[in-house]
């Protein structure tokens, strides 16, 4: 297990280096930054859905709460360190509360999906209707559909006038993603992570073995909410404005799509799906010949029909089939079955 983790660390550092040094030659750092932010958001649902088996239709809620928490607290505090922390804590607590209500209420998957979807709608409608001057939190005007502009963006801790922006902000986001990715890897390799995978596989059996499934699902949901909130704060800093669109149904649907395309049950899949599809959307946005959503829909249909496991698991399977067999032939040791592992 220790060897596997060191391999994870090396792979993460390698990928981060590629993103930081090579990718900027192909795509502008401004665009890569938002792809990284979306990657982080994809990872949050990838953890909750892919490893915990919790299909949350409302991951955008935590993303939006993170973004708004950052904007509101940055205006009131005037420095970014505490707002960044709050943007993780507040969505995480909200996810814990929502999760506890759903899991302790013994809701099945369908109702869970419906509730998270409805919560997203409620937030979207509510934030859109906060245009009046009386919708204020401290000095921060919520601004309705116009959102909140002009808040203090990321600065060096304790130095409000030393902003981290441009390429510096890009490096910051890349390092944050790498750290969260490693954090998720540690979590999944821990006893808690292995138990969570067991719950995904068979909730009833895990309960009959004596595990309090509800508590563990709530904790995982809160962790996912915290990661989504962090990505929301990074998004707010990137755009320097937050609008109700962060709570939109389209945003929620896209996150699910990223996970399906990238591959569930992997850590890298949802990041790849998020970055890939968002970049495609960005490219498609530069033309008016074909409708954007039509292409996205076609991609989803393609993946559901031909690559239902997503990109990363398919690559891993092909790799195992080709090189796993070669290796086992070489060592004259037949592989009966592949041990389930943390792909990606």
């Amino acid at each position: 297990m220790a060897g596997s983790f060191s391999r994870d660390v090396i792979a993460t550092i390698g990928l981060t280096v590629v993103v930081i040094w090579i990718l900027p030659y192909v795509i502008s750092t401004f665009t890569i930054t938002v792809l990284i932010v979306y990657g982080l958001l994809g990872l949050s649902l990838g953890l909750v859905w892919g490893y915990g088996g919790i299909l949350c239709f409302g991951q955008a809620v935590f993303f939006g709460i993170g973004a708004y928490t950052y904007a509101i607290s940055a205006i009131n505090i005037g420095e970014s360190t505490l707002p960044m922390l709050l943007s993780i804590i507040v969505p995480s607590l909200f996810a814990a509360l929502l999760g506890a209500m759903m899991f302790y209420g013994r809701l099945t998957d369908v109702y869970l999906g419906v509730i998270t979807l409805v919560v997203t709608l409620i937030f979207y409608r509510f934030i859109n209707s906060t245009a009046g001057p009386h919708y204020k939190i401290g000095n921060a005007q919520l601004g309705g559909f116009n959102g909140i502009p002009g808040f203090q963006t990321l600065n060096i801790p304790g130095q409000p006038s030393s902003y981290i922006w441009g390429d510096g902000y890009f490096y910051f986001c890349a390092v944050v993603l790498a750290i969260v990715y490693l954090g998720v890897s540690i979590l999944l390799r821990s006893d808690f992570g292995r138990i969570i995978v067991g719950i995904r596989e068979n909730e009833t059996r895990m309960s009959l073995l004596g595990y309090d499934v509800r508590a563990r699902k709530t904790i995982l949901f809160a962790i996912g909410g915290g990661i989504a909130g962090l990505s929301g704060a990074l998004f707010a800093n990137w755009g320097e404005i937050v609008t109700p669109s962060v709570f939109s149904l389209g945003q929620s649907a896209e996150i699910i799509l990223w996970c399906i395309v990238g591959g569930l049950g992997t850590r890298f899949g949802p990041i790849l799906g998020a970055a890939g599809l968002s970049y495609l959307k960005f490219l498609l946005g530069q033309q008016s010949f074909v409708d954007n959503t039509l292409i996205t829909g076609l991609i989803l249909v393609f993946f559901v029909l031909f690559l239902p496991k997503g990109i990363v698991p398919t690559i891993v399977n092909v790799w195992d089939l080709k090189f796993g067999r070669l290796l086992s032939d070489r060592f004259q040791k037949p592989r009966r079955n592949r041990k389930l592992r943390l792909n990606g």
Binding site: R194, N202, L208
Partner: protein, 238 residues
């Protein structure tokens, strides 16, 4: 006289208008082995579900070691030391055999001890050759055995086995019988079974369920020769 570790009083379970279990009074002593028989729909599995907390009884109480557990959650009851093997193997199909057993061992033991327990159970059930295999790819019989492994790794004092011999070959049934007898040295066992030969080989006392209620409770030879029981199985009595 040994104290009862499991007692039910007037246990009743209704699903809308359907009464799955009706006024069941049942007692089980420590390290006793009891078989439950009865036709399909007699309420045996529902009875198990009420004991393990998967169903909350509509009426009546369940006492485990003197504690009223009628309204407890399954994980709370399992934590007391009650294990169940379900009718169709309820296992983590996407995980390997050793990962499955580790998950059960980890619930009751800390890290290193859980690993040691996992190895011990794999050895005890002779699962070494398939320890790394994914459960979903194994046969029904193997999965039955592994589910039993999940149950016994926590050293329970009450084990409920729902049709442990179903779908097993003659050799596997012999193996299962040996394992059950071994478990019975430290734990009380209730077995739901339809295989009369298997019941004869393993049970002393048999409880007969019929239409959600206890019809008869007696020694195995007496129950087997009882004309009412025979009629129930042949479908002559309603």
């Amino acid at each position: 006289m040994a104290e009862s570790i499991l007692e039910t009083f007037g246990l009743t379970m209704k699903f809308g208008g359907v009464i799955a279990a009706h006024n069941i009074n049942f007692k089980l002593k420590a390290r006793e082995l009891r078989c439950l028989i009865g036709p399909n729909g007699a309420g045996k599995s529902t009875f198990f579900k009420c004991i393990t907390g998967q169903q909350t009884p509509t009426e009546g109480e369940v006492y485990l070691r003197g504690m009223d557990t009628s309204r407890w959650m399954p994980h709370q009851i399992a934590s007391l030391g009650v294990g169940i093997k379900t009718q169709t193997p309820s296992v983590m199909n996407g995980l390997s055999v050793s990962e499955n057993i580790w998950l059960s061992a980890r619930r009751f033991h800390d890290g290193p001890e859980a690993k040691r327990k996992t190895r011990e159970i794999i050895e005890r059930l002779a699962l070494g050759a398939i320890a790394k295999d994914q459960l979903g790819k194994l046969s029904h019989g193997e999965r039955q055995l592994i589910e039993l492994g999940l149950v016994i790794v926590g050293d329970p004092w009450l084990v409920l086995l729902d049709e442990p011999a179903a779908g097993l070959s003659g050799e596997d049934i012999e193996r299962m019988t040996t394992i059950i007898n071994e478990i019975n040295k430290t734990a009380a066992i209730i077995i739901i079974e339809h295989d009369m030969q298997f019941i004869r080989s393993i049970a002393k006392i048999v409880t007969v369920f019929h239409q959600g209620a206890v019809l008869l409770e007696d020694r195995v030879d007496k129950v087997m020769s009882d004309p009412t029981v025979r009629n129930i199985y042949l479908g002559k009595r309603n």
